[in-house]
């Protein structure tokens, strides 16, 4: 059992609408996977299925358990932040820590308190008195103190300002992640997570269109700045995307050798955002 999540022909329909269209994937332990897709592509549905929040068809194992029937056991080892700022408004910081400490066998109280001490949260403060960023800080303090094997983050920083966002991912990487943990993140702010991801999964219309490690992505995809006189030669290699910057064509190639491309112009690794845009072309058309 080295796959933390493994899906085989995972399908979810809402009436006639197909949200997840028979996907297969495996997420091994010790990875940080970015599940990235446009709105309505099925990424949140996939996570909800893995967390046992919705029924589904096909096979899905999370830590070897079926989330439909073994959710209670599963939640001992899995934690998630499903949405921004969803803590109940009446909850006090002190009570929140007491509560999670009381019910979660893997909660490290001193860790949560240490983290809270570094914020402007006060023990007597209620959630309704907090800014959105502070609520996320409290939520993260609670979740990071849980020694879960799998952490699922669905748009964890949506609507937060850049200071909170940066701090969020920094804390996650420095204080939380280790080789025994697995993190799955969905987000629209691709630029902010790409440097922490080890794996990338693009999902579109309920199908997985790309699943690769960041290393593989770096080998497969190359971006080339092509001067005007070599555009025809470059086009012959079938770029998957191209745009024009300062009169030069920037072309994105999939699976063309770097040596061959460097003859055409300056090569570099594409950003995940550029790769995403190229892959998702025509989604909303």
């Amino acid at each position: 059992m080295n796959a933390v999540i493994s899906a085989r022909n995972l399908t979810k329909k809402y009436g006639k609408q197909i949200a997840i269209d028979g996907i297969d994937f495996e997420i091994p332990a010790g990875r940080i996977v970015g599940l990235i897709g446009p709105n309505g592509s099925g990424k949140t549905t996939t996570l909800k299925a893995a967390l046992g929040l919705i029924p589904f068809d096909g096979e899905l194992r999370v830590m070897g358990l079926d989330p439909r029937t073994q959710r209670d056991a599963l939640m001992q080892d899995v934690c998630f932040i499903a949405d921004v700022a969803i803590l109940p408004r009446w909850l006090k910081v002190r009570d929140a820590v007491d509560f999670v400490a009381g019910i979660h066998p893997r909660f490290d109280r001193s860790r949560a308190e240490r983290y809270i001490a570094n914020t402007r949260l006060k023990p007597e403060m209620k959630v309704k008195q907090m800014s959105k960023g502070m609520i996320v800080q409290l939520h993260l303090a609670l979740v990071m103190a849980i020694d879960a094997k799998l952490l699922v983050l669905d748009e964890p920083t949506l609507g937060l300002d850049i200071l909170y966002r940066k701090q969020f991912y920094q804390n996650l990487l420095e204080d939380y992640f280790d080789e025994n943990k697995t993190i799955v993140i969905t987000t629209h702010q691709v630029e902010e997570v790409e440097h922490i991801l080890t794996d990338l999964m693009f999902i579109r219309d309920g199908k997985i269109v790309l699943a690769a490690s960041m290393d593989e992505v770096g080998e497969r995809y190359v971006e080339v700045m092509v001067p005007a006189d070599k555009v025809n030669a470059a086009n012959a290699l079938q770029p998957i995307d191209q745009r024009t910057v300062f009169g030069k064509s920037v072309m994105l190639f999939d699976g063309v050798s770097r040596a061959q491309l460097s003859a055409l112009g300056e090569t570099r690794n594409p950003s995940v955002a550029d790769l995403f845009v190229a892959t998702m072309k025509g989604t909303y058309a």
Binding site: K48, L51, L53, I54, P55, R71, D72, M75, Q76, C79, F80, I81, A82, D83, I86, L87, P88, R89, W90, L91, K92, D95, D98, F99, V100, G102, I103, H104, P105, H139, V143
Partner: protein
Amino acid sequence: MNTMKWLLRREFWEHKGGFVWAPLIAAAIMVVLVAGVVGYGVSSGKFQGDSITVRVGGEEVHRTQTAADLLTGHSRTEVASVAANNYIAIGAPIFIVLPVVAFFYCLAALYDDRRDRSILFWKSLPISDGATVVSKLLTALVLAPVITIGIASAAAFLILMIAGVAVSAQGVNLFGPVLGNLSLYLSPVYLLAMIPVYVLWALPTVGWLLLVSSWAKSKVFLWAVGVPLIAAVLLKWMDYMLALYGTTINADWIINNVLEAALFGLVPGTWFMDGGTALPINNGQGVNMLSVLGASWGSLARPELWVGAAAGVAMILGAIRLRRWRDEG
């Protein structure tokens, strides 16, 4: 077990206002009003020489013409005994707060966290949906009544003591015989011993409210009250139509036994109000708490209680299942 303790604590944090402050404020108002009246009466000498009437639940149980009557030993003990046995009835208004608070608590219990999406936080913790729903059930049916009994008994006791001060202003000291009467201390215990009976009678209502709370996408109150109301109207109408053919579906029976059980079960002592169990009243002594307790437990012999409780449990299981699978988008 430990999880349940924290779940109950969680409910207490969220609903302290309804379950503690509401009855406490009602009790405080009662005590202050009585103290004010008595204080005014004593200070202005209004009690001097007036006749004293002892009433329990509006029923006159004892009247004296002059204070001197009370000085006779027998009469004095008798009054003290009535007081010690019945003082708890003074707390009745506080028990009216309970069903109202518990009704709205149950309606909100599985709905509010879906509305503000904080259900996703609770579901991210290792708490089963069954344990969550049971914690709400225990809060409404055990925790809330225990708190109410505590507050009502304390308020009733305080008012009794204030009355004692009023009587002593006439030169009659009832403190000794009242405080020495065992019933004074047993009455709250009798009330606590009625909780199991209360739980069983309240199950259909709590089950119905939790089911609606777990199911409705919005407007929980409208669903919870509207459905039985419309059902009642429809039943009446069908009965009216069927009467033309000389038959009946017994609409009144269904309304009285099914629909009322779904809405009014949280009222303490419903088993006395529907006429199924007689309230034991012995004249002259008011209501004896021990016989009320006995009659309450006697209501367990009524089959409709068990049918209702079973229906309540079924609806609670439905609520748990709905909470497990409801997709909160």
